[in-house]
Symmetry: C2
Subunit: 224 residues, 2 copies
């Protein structure tokens, strides 16, 4: 094989990873998996896809090594293969945010209207946690919280937030986070809290990005 055939073959393999990331449904599945391992049935439910379609997409992700599986009885559990996959997804999202005008338009139209304050960077949140100066609020579903969360975070899903305000120290600022930097739930949580007169901001990233950057996490059991 010549040098240029080798190079083309190598880039074709790289392109397989790009191809795996070229469908919106697969990206969404990756974001769900970034919170912790899930079964096919669970993924179909949260994503709104049919089980067969979900399975097809997961096969493609598995074939390029972005996810891996384990079996337990009838169920097959999928998980992200490594932190490098989270970092790739993050890099792709950041490039899209910076260079795709439609991303900026969508974010401005649907997110910035809810919270136009600068989000809190992860290292700043870590320091303020250590100083005991903030309440960290995780608004993901309980099973995602159980799979891993920011140390000291309280888990109140968004739908229950208004009826659980008494769990939040009124003297402290709340920093809310969710599955990723564009998860609407974190924005809505901040909006709700501010409407109730609380000081609230968002964390810059979601839980997977926090974890991938090596910051401490609590609650992880089957995620090495």
């Amino acid at each position: 094989m010549s040098s240029s055939n080798f190079k083309h073959d190598l880039f074709s393999q790289f392109a397989r990873v790009g191809k795996a990331l070229s469908n919106a449904n697969r990206l969404e599945l990756l974001e769900f998996l970034a919170q912790g391992e899930r079964s096919v049935d669970e993924l179909a439910t949260v994503s709104g896809l049919t089980v067969a379609n979900t399975s097809q997409h997961l096969q493609q992700l598995r074939q390029v090594g972005l996810v891996s599986t384990r079996k337990e009885g009838l169920k097959v559990y999928y998980r992200i293969s490594g932190e490098d996959v989270i970092e790739l997804f993050q890099a792709l999202r950041q490039v899209a945010e910076r260079h795709v005008a439609e991303v900026e338009r969508l974010v401005n139209t649907f997110l910035t209207v809810k919270d136009d304050l600068e989000p809190v960077p992860a290292d700043e949140l870590l320091q303020r946690c250590r100083d005991g100066l903030v309440t960290v609020l995780d608004v993901r579903p309980p099973e995602e919280y159980a799979a891993g969360h920011v140390p000291g975070a309280i888990n109140i899903p968004l739908a229950e937030l208004e009826s659980h305000l008494d769990e939040l120290d009124p003297q402290q600022e709340v920093v809310a986070y969710c599955r990723g930097p564009h998860c609407v739930l974190a924005f809505e949580a901040v909006e709700t809290l501010r409407r109730k007169g609380r000081k609230a901001r968002r964390l810059e990233d979601g839980y997977p990005e926090w974890k991938a950057s090596g910051l401490p996490v609590e609650g992880t059991s089957n995620n090495e």
Copy 2:
């Protein structure tokens, strides 16, 4: 628009970037552009694609903002839009290297056979340069060298290496680099030098990765 429609629309935009990276030819064009700006005609020549096909692929890269253009007379010059695009390409390549078995097989079959020593990390090379302990050899074509290179690097294209050995200090180890971590030319340069009794190793990355990580560069003029 509902929250789930918003999320799907947002991920569709992210998927557009993935789609741009899902073709081997576009990835190769990105690697060429990572060395410095090129015209459509030049890119068609080095990639072996027709001009029309090259132009089509460049349109797709431009539409998601991975590359940008400037005109000079008849010619349109394309360039990488930002260092974040280089970092995305690097993240994609690293995920493929780690998780796609065929990548490992190709690399082992065609590269490791030429150089199975550990490559030199960028920060180590920087330190050794400052200590004056190595000769840095850039084996890319002269126009890519002119567009930017590692400070102090000598430019000897591979085809001319054997007839220019006298340009290399026999007392110093040579560290060779090229367009990227899998560029065959760097491997062949090391192989050639070792056959001539010289101490030689490869830099871990290519020039674009060196530059994207903020290390000092020489020779950049039209690249901000």
